[in-house]
Symmetry: C2
Subunit: 360 residues, 2 copies
């Protein structure tokens, strides 16, 4: 391990047990096992069971593996939307899903209050089949509020709700019972090497995909929901998957469970409070997201006085790697990841270091 510490919002610092799990994987030939062997089906079952416990998923949910969360935007567009979807867009990642749905010929409608801005009382037509929310907009540090989601669920019981939980699962408790499909990639809060997406779908979503297929809609091939589901019932994947990635995900999810998920959620809240206190009190920083309820617990974004270069460079000299702003905000903002691998002490230390710095 190097002397560097990554507070970037993904890829980020590896979860602190990853190193030893990779070495154990090599010792026990994990990368050489067949994806059709008993060893693999045991691994698949153990990984999905552990994720169920860690995320608090009820019986009716199924877990599939893909190459990335980006892929899942495409698979949702192919499998769960026939004609029209509705997207809550206030950052680069929610915008990207809206764009992918459009590329697949879907009439993708949207609420678009601006980068990092809160949503109002949006009118969603009966014709929209799926509502897309981004539970944590990694580009802007905006966290969707739970009461808003609950109201959406109550107002639109017949629509599918898709939640991007890319940079927030499993750091906070997510109300999956209000969601029909959710997805994340492992290089964010899980602290794992990139190259694996996790797709959670309930039975309603599976039925919808089957209905679209029956109607003759092109729903894709090896990674269509029916194909993924048929394989998952046998604890398998349609193609040779990232076996090492699935192994590491199982190990790290188990480590998090062993440590205690409630403690992980509490620590996340504590560290986020420290970071927003820093943004409020430090004369060169100010929190970007105005409404406190929407300040992300896991990707904390601040505007930096006189641009971010002085701060990023000074921190990098100390081995502390903090994220730049996204897109237009590349030079004016910082994004600090607050993931489970970042200990309370590390965040306290980072806050102290930042408080010791100034632009001149």
């Amino acid at each position: 391990m190097s002397a560097k510490l990554f507070f970037t919002p993904g890829p980020s610092q590896m979860y602190f047990t990853v190193d030893s799990h990779i070495k154990e994987a090599l010792r026990s030939d994990i990368p050489s096992i067949s994806h059709r062997s008993k060893a693999f089906t045991n691994l698949f079952e153990s990984c999905t069971d552990t994720l169920r416990s860690l995320l608090g998923l009820s019986e009716g949910f199924h877990i599939f593996f893909t190459g990335s969360a980006t892929e899942i935007w495409e698979r949702i567009s192919q499998n769960l939307i026939e004609k029209e979807s509705y997207h809550f867009v206030n950052g680069s990642f929610s915008k990207r899903f809206h764009q992918i749905a459009t590329e697949y010929g879907i009439n993708a409608l949207k609420a678009d209050p601006g980068f990092g801005k809160p949503f109002g009382d949006e009118l969603i037509q009966d014709s929209s089949e799926l509502i897309s929310i981004t539970y944590n907009e990694t580009s802007a540090g905006f966290q969707f509020d739970q009461p808003y989601l609950e109201k959406l669920r109550n107002d639109h019981p017949d629509k599918l709700i898709a939640a991007d939980v890319v940079s927030i699962a499993p750091s906070v408790s997510i109300p999956f019972d209000h969601i029909d499909t959710a997805y994340f990639s492992v290089q964010k809060s899980f602290g794992l090497p990139a190259g694996l997406g996790v797709w959670i779908v309930n039975n309603r979503a599976i039925e919808k995909a089957h209905k679209l297929a029956e109607k003759g809609r092109q729903i894709g091939s090896y990674h269509s929901i029916p194909s993924l589901y048929t394989a998952a019932l046998k604890n398998q994947t349609p193609e040779t998957p990232n076996v090492l990635g699935i192994y590491l995900l199982q190990k790290v999810a188990q480590d998090m469970l062993t440590k205690g998920k409630e403690m992980m959620h509490r620590d996340t809240a504590y560290k986020a409070a420290l970071l927003y206190q820093l943004f409020d009190s430090n004369q060169f920083l100010s929190p970007f997201i105005e409404t406190k309820a929407n300040r992300s617990k896991t990707v904390c974004v601040a505007d930096v006085d006189q641009g971010n270069a002085w701060l990023l460079n000074s921190l990098e000299k100390k081995g502390l790697i903090v994220g730049k702003g996204y897109g237009d905000k590349k030079e004016s903002q910082i994004r600090i990841a607050n993931f489970p691998t970042h200990s309370n002490e590390q965040i306290e230390m980072l806050v102290d270091q930042i408080n010791n710095l100034s632009p001149n």
Copy 2:
């Protein structure tokens, strides 16, 4: 490393330097680097340059990364075929591509002489836009013959030729100048952990995808050829890729170049000769592929007297893991991988061990 030695046709034995490269990757924070950083664009460039040298690709080829080779079947169906394709099918993997093209609404025609059987003088209509060949059919151990490919190229200069080189690149020299697009996954001949596909396309293929997009054809989204190409010109990928996988591919490809690719090709031929000599001389074995020119150099398949269980079990007790037959042949055949990580001595030892065994 365990005491086991995997001669399975993929996932297989890790290339013998993988262990140390993974440890070095962890020490130098490869899994934590941003996929938009200079460190990553350097890695992308170095990986694609090394692959170009190792595979002998000329200037007009571009290299993209996907989640698997299975994904590439889908991307070819979306990007390179408008209405009709022609598939040379004589095993489970060539059949799967034919099926995926059909699932994408393509009129996918085929030559289908039977599992592991050679192709004859097939009539390919002018209307077929793309010809699919499987340079090495991993399920049956059938290697496409180069003169046949050359004739295809000469007879159909205006069609695209797509070659599945999944389990054979970079073990033998492949005539890429007769091919417009080729693809492989890294868990076969490269001896790497699964979870990365490599897609090689020439300028004609890129033009075709652009033409289809202009016509309004749905060519996908983040992994369409225009999207992959635009990113690759900046030495990037559209999504967060399997960065560790790309790092390991670069390292192992460089190791193979350093050792010498001609020697690797010669060793592959020598070890294949040993294995087919075993199949010809051992009273309990017989080579499955009849025509000698079509016997795969990298996945050597034999019928086993009295079923394969006695042989697989005896070898497994010695830590030697050999592949079962595929599909219907699961219990009657063995498949022995002959990849660059399998040394001459290891194959000689395996041959000796098999010669010492008998069913009773």
